[in-house]
Symmetry: C2
């Protein structure tokens, strides 16, 4: 059994994961890291201790998804904007000192990609391109059962591949990243903009007349109800993601594309539309063969991902 730990800006989740990728005894604690590195570490150690005591299992490794940037080779957190107290913090070493088992650290999208390759929708495929579409867009690349880390551990940042060099600026400072164009946040923002611009839509009513409440879920409800504006917005997002996935296929030619994340459900009805677009958006003559599938793991992808780092 492994312990998988998923550290967010406000919470830390952890669970036991078995050799089939099944999660048990999940716990969730607040992440209190604003005061000091030790306070953040303490929350992580407490979550791990709770999981181990509740699960009453022999644990052979601990894997942690942490906000980056980080160095997966050493388990050192470099300078995370969402956890400033952890600047140059040796997280793997600190946890290993307490629990005396191997500790691995990586970012959440890389770890979740590995969990999908080991136990999930990417199982059995030699290479996996994984994308998690939520507030942002994260990606991970798996080659032959290993996370592709590149030179510095920072490879696989497909969410910051730009498909619009003159496009809107992403939070990262670069124009036209797929994240700023087609994440859940971007989809909801575009819906609000189009409603403000006078687009007729049932979405405002679904949000109780409150424009600020028009979020990704409301767009999804509108789409399911046949709302033309919601359909237009989601189809645009699916077309952008299809072009971006076409880029990934032409560059990486993976065996499978796995899509997860909170906003993936929004786009799932459009997966077939995306599949049909991709042959027109690739030079790879066999791009049509690449399956585009939904991830096994949902909100618990970080727990499974952490554990997968131990395998």
């Amino acid at each position: 059994m492994f312990v998988g730990v998923d550290i967010g800006g406000t919470k830390v989740a952890a669970g036991l994961v078995d050799m089939y990728g099944e999660i048990s005894t999940p716990v969730r604690l607040p992440m209190v890291s604003h005061d000091s590195a030790e306070a953040g570490l303490s929350a992580v150690l407490q979550a791990i201790a709770q999981v181990i005591s509740q699960g009453d299992a022999q644990v052979s490794g601990i894997g942690i998804c942490s906000p980056g940037p980080l160095d997966p080779a050493t388990g050192i957190i470099l300078n995370p904007p969402n956890l400033p107290c952890w600047r140059n913090f040796p997280l793997a070493e600190a946890v290993q000192k307490v629990h005396r088992v191997p500790v691995q650290v990586d970012n959440d999208a890389n770890a979740a990609a590995l969990a999908e390759a080991r136990w999930g929708a990417g199982r059995g495929y030699p290479s996996v391109f994984y994308a998690t579409i939520g507030t942002g867009i994260g990606t991970g690349i798996i080659f032959d059962g290993h996370i592709f880390h590149g030179r510095t551990g920072a490879a696989g940042e497909g969410g910051h591949v730009s498909i619009d060099y003159r496009g809107p600026l992403c939070g990262c400072g670069k124009p036209g990243c797929i994240e700023v164009l087609a994440s859940g946040t971007a989809i909801a923002k575009r819906a609000r903009q189009k409603i403000v611009a006078g687009g007729k839509s049932s979405m405002l009513g679904l949000a109780g007349g409150n424009l600020d409440a028009v979020n990704g879920e409301i767009v999804g409800e509108g789409f399911a109800a046949g709302d033309p504006l919601a359909t237009e917005i989601l189809t645009e997002a699916a077309d952008m993601i299809a072009l971006w996935l076409g880029n990934m296929i032409d560059l990486l030619d993976p065996h499978v594309i796995v899509i997860g994340g909170g906003a993936a459900a929004l786009l799932r009805p459009l997966f077939e539309h995306m599949r049909q677009r991709i042959p027109k958006l690739t030079v790879n003559p066999r791009s049509v063969e690449v399956p585009i599938v939904s991830s096994r793991y949902g909100a618990d992808s970080g727990i499974a991902g952490g554990a997968a780092l131990c395998t």
Copy 2:
């Protein structure tokens, strides 16, 4: 010694290549493939025979750059638009039958990337991203001394990574590929368009008043002479290539970027400009460290590349 062979639409070039990547006894014959697969094969075999007899060397392998798509695992040419007679043609097998040494086949950019990694500007780096900027833009990815082929052999088509999802259609049918935006062809076309649109420039004079003669070289001459329109066009192209290379760094995090091809000379004065842009066009906090260097091989990259396939 290896024989490297470079097959183009109209010519076949070949040469002997030693273990240091030095090319000797180069030959160049017309490629006559429009009649039959055998005529094309005959030109290739003749070029190889000439190289071997002139070089008077023991040859331990033959490597061939061929127009694709092709299957590098089997050496079968699939359905090349520029060599229609070679549809499903087992090129490696046909050459091996005659010369009785191992024969490898790959596309020119992959092979040239490998030659740079073995013997050229990428030597000593564990991973190499190679781009050849000429009539089109081709790329090759080298990981740990091997061409990255992906699932079907069609990986590494970075020239067809789009950075403008609403952009002009590339020859491949996809909008906004870097090839249609910043190849030598694209640069020359933009120069002619801007001149027609009334842009003041010395380039038309440099081309003897003939608009059709405004090509990449003329743009380069204009830039060298300080022509503002030529400077604007090349800076735009360099900015687009910098964003595209930023995408490659965020996805692949390579140890070095090697740039070759006929139009690379045009952009060389702007390499420093590109290097300065890249940190703003990547989330990788160490992107500034990635060297961007000129290739060792020029017009003979296909010969060196072919030979590198044998190593």
